[in-house]
């Protein structure tokens, strides 16, 4: 009897061990750069987000396709023009046991907007004036004017534990509410996260994830091929044929040339139209991106963003018409400045040079200047004269068309090269219009106008491509968040 029980116990124990072993999935992820800090509220840092998006959560979330949905808040309602109210999810705790409640939200908001913290993320939260606790599980966020994008902003702001933020070390040992909790950071080498057993949502498949920081694309690829990594970021399109598995998804970036509409040459609408018609975008998608890029639909707005104009179509490729337009404008033989940079965005130099090649066929003489990045930023945003055309891959983190409109179309925008006051007025209005339908109408009009006047030369909606090992199942997200909870290991 005794032996039987003992044997039974032994067998059950072994079975449990086996079962546990099968579940204890550990994966390795190679990202491009090490997080500068693991404080989730200070820096605008892709490496930091790729780790912290798993540790921390936000009031609003997004579906993999980019639609807003509830996150740590179950409901968002607009109380008045400058106030949004969020009902908070019950029963959520931080990894250190602190409860997630209205106090945590207020502390998170106040910490990020505190000028003393000099947070780079204020680029996303500039309109937020403060937060007020209504009751334990209800909180209001106040803005300095009407802000229709506030829910999108709250999808970007990570919630921190108020007690630990003061006493603990958020920069080195983060504590959030997310599906994974921080385990180890060996500086320069790796960061390890482990599954949070007390997570309020569904338990994820992957037990443990280790991040490695490999900046060089060829080295990341080699690590994947050698079996060291399960997921690598920023796989080059030409390597998609090499790797065991890959996944491509529409990303946040849209490449575009901004035209200097006040410059002598590019002030002529005919010239600007010719610049758009001269480019064979389909050929470029195949040649540069192996097909893994979308052709921008006649405006440089992210297709997943609110405000995208569905009615516009991509500019056709019509080299004869382009050449004729340049001739009509009397611009044949004139020099056009083509300014850009290299190495910052996917295939940036290649896109710039290909476009310059197409423009050369219209009769214009492109003068390509690939500038060092800080010099380039000065060309893009500085006070000096605007280039005839300047390349940028614009990223839309909040997935709202205000980004593309305010930055590139608004005459006072940092990267704008026009002086169209009428358009600027519409953009200003859209910024403070809280009625979604009216706001969409405004953007439709802004982008139709920009399209017809050829203020920009939109190129591609870039895709994010990830390399994966054979055992990984994962569909990456449009918002570029690297969520381990969505990954499954099949083995």
């Amino acid at each position: 009897m005794n032996t039987t029980i003992r044997r039974l116990c032994a067998t059950t124990g072994m079975l449990a061990l086996l079962a546990g072993g099968a579940q204890a999935q550990s994966i390795a992820i190679a990202i491009g750069s090490e997080p500068s800090t693991l404080d989730p509220q200070l820096r605008d840092d892709g490496g930091e987000r790729q780790v912290n998006d798993n540790i921390y959560e936000t009031l609003m979330a997004r579906t993999p396709e980019g639609a807003l949905e509830p996150g740590l808040a179950t409901e968002a309602t607009q109380v008045d023009e400058t106030t949004w109210e969020f009902a908070l999810r019950e029963g959520v705790t931080f990894h250190n046991g602190e409860p997630f409640d209205a106090d945590a939200v207020v502390a998170s908001v106040e910490r990020i907007i505190d000028p003393g913290n000099n947070s780079e993320q204020m680029a996303y939260f500039g309109t937020i004036a403060g937060a007020e606790k209504v009751d334990d599980m209800t909180v209001r966020i106040l803005t300095d004017g009407p802000d229709p994008i506030l829910p999108s902003r709250m999808y970007w702001m990570k919630m921190i534990p108020p007690g630990y933020a003061v006493e603990g070390d958020l920069a080195a040992a983060p504590v959030g509410t997310g599906p994974y909790r921080f385990a180890d950071w060996s500086r320069g080498e790796s960061i390890t996260l482990e599954r949070n057993p007390d997570y309020w949502g569904a338990a994820p498949d992957v037990e443990e994830a280790t991040y490695r920081f490999v900046g060089e694309a060829g080295t990341r690829l080699s690590g994947l091929m050698a079996g060291e990594f399960d997921v690598i970021t920023n796989l080059l399109p030409e390597f998609t044929r090499t790797v065991p598995k890959f996944a491509a998804v529409d990303g946040l970036e849209t490449s575009v040339f901004v035209l200097g509409t006040d410059n002598e040459l590019t002030s002529d609408p005919k010239v600007r139209e010719a610049l758009n018609l001269a480019i064979d975008r389909e050929a470029m998608v195949e040649a540069l991106f192996q097909g893994y890029a979308g052709i921008a639909q006649g405006h440089h707005v992210n297709p997943a963003a609110f405000g995208f104009n569905d009615d516009l179509e991509s500019y056709p490729y019509d080299p004869e018409r382009a050449r004729a337009l340049i001739e009509e404008a009397g611009a044949t033989g004139q020099t056009i400045q083509v300014v850009g940079e290299s190495g910052r965005w996917l295939k940036d130099r290649e896109q710039i040079e290909a476009v310059a090649g197409y423009w050369a066929e219209t009769g214009l003489v492109p003068e390509v200047q690939i500038q060092e990045f800080s010099q380039y930023l000065d060309s893009l945003m500085g006070d000096g004269p605007r280039p005839d055309s300047i390349f940028i891959a614009n990223s839309n983190e909040l997935l709202d068309a205000d980004r593309e409109a305010s930055f590139i179309y608004h005459m006072d925008g940092a990267a704008a090269s026009n002086s169209d006051a009428e358009m600027a007025a519409m953009i200003d209005e859209a910024r403070v219009t809280t009625d979604n339908a009216a706001r969409q109408d405004l953007y439709d009009e802004v982008f139709r106008r920009g399209h017809e006047l050829n203020y920009t030369v939109p190129l591609f909606n870039l895709q994010d491509i990830y390399g994966m090992s054979e055992r990984m199942e994962w569909q990456p997200r449009t918002d570029a968040k690297l969520l381990i909870k969505e990954m499954v290991v099949t083995e």
Partner: protein
């Protein structure tokens, strides 16, 4: 000796200050570092507020005075990128770079001396042609490319070593070999030509005529007399490694050293970290040069320390 050291240290301090100040000016005058630090979507007001918080909105002379004051207290400010003291970042990464340089240059020296000697022993012979060929190839191949090639060969095709990273001795092998290749090539060709020149001198011929074994003449006489110029070359390679090789090799192999951090700091407009790195590299280079002078004196008593 003490007077010599003191003078060299003072000269060195001037060099370090000159380099540091140059970097201070260059990073502030060309381009706007705040543009590099903040996301593109930051508004003009946010840029201005950020610059004010860092003190970058003040006139250059005022910034400079503060910089000098902090430098005297060995305070390099806070890295805007890592949000911790810049010197802490440097001191964390410096040992990794020194390990890599030590292993790479050590390997180069250990291999170059015998290789150069063997090649010089019979100029034009098979061994000479092989050694010269390898050296010329080593000099012609970009380090970046060599690194990736070694990864593909010894980590992917024949998976005996890790592709990148740091942690175990195995991780050190490929980066060290990659870093060693160029110095090895230059040192080998140098030793070869020095020895060949030396072998034509009368004292060597006399030694050989007296019936001393050729190997003893090579090592005991010829090699000994090439040591001072050889050490000069080693010093030069050390400077190149500190200021250049590590940047490339660490990037390819994701080796968390100072070269990798230097590139990242530059890309992110992190003035304070860039200043701390340049200062540290300048100090190291000055120290290397002083050390070499002392070693020369020990190796060759004819060299004065005047």
């Amino acid at each position: 000796m003490a007077a010599f050291l003191l003078r060299r240290l003072l000269q060195g301090a001037l060099v370090v200050l000159g380099v540091t100040f140059t970097v201070f000016v260059v990073t502030r005058v060309f381009g706007n570092p705040v543009d590099l630090m903040l996301p593109l979507s930051a508004s003009a007001e946010q840029r201005a507020a950020f610059a004010a918080e860092l003190g970058l909105d003040r006139p250059l002379p005022a910034q400079f005075m503060q910089f000098v004051g902090e430098l005297l207290r060995f305070d390099f400010g806070e890295s805007t990128w890592q949000r911790r003291p810049a010197m802490a970042v440097v001191l964390e990464r410096l040992p990794n770079s020194l390990l890599l340089i030590g292993a790479g240059l050590g390997l180069a020296i250990i291999l170059a001396l015998p290789a150069g000697l063997l090649a010089a022993g019979r100029p034009g012979g098979l061994l000479d042609r092989v050694v010269t060929g390898i050296s010329l190839a080593g000099l012609s191949m970009p380090q970046f490319w060599v690194g990736l090639l070694l990864i593909v060969l010894f980590a992917v095709a024949i998976p005996v070593l890790p592709t990148s990273g740091m942690g175990t001795p195995a991780h050190l092998v490929l980066p060290a070999v990659t870093l060693a290749l160029v110095p090895f090539a230059r040192m080998t060709l140098f030793v070869r030509s020095q020895i060949m020149e030396e072998l034509n001198r009368p004292y060597i011929r006399t030694a050989l005529a007296r019936g001393l074994p050729r190997s003893r003449v090579l090592v005991g006489h010829a090699l000994r007399n090439t040591l001072v110029p050889f050490l000069t070359l080693v010093g030069w390679e050390l400077v190149l490694a500190l200021a250049g090789y590590t940047v490339v090799v660490e990037t390819v192999f994701a080796w968390p050293g100072m070269g990798l951090v230097a590139i990242q700091a530059l890309q992110r407009g992190d003035l304070f970290l860039v200043q701390a790195i340049v200062y540290t590299v300048a100090v190291l280079i000055v120290l290397v040069n002083i050390l070499l002078d002392v070693v020369f004196k020990l190796v060759d008593p004819r060299i004065g320390l005047g």
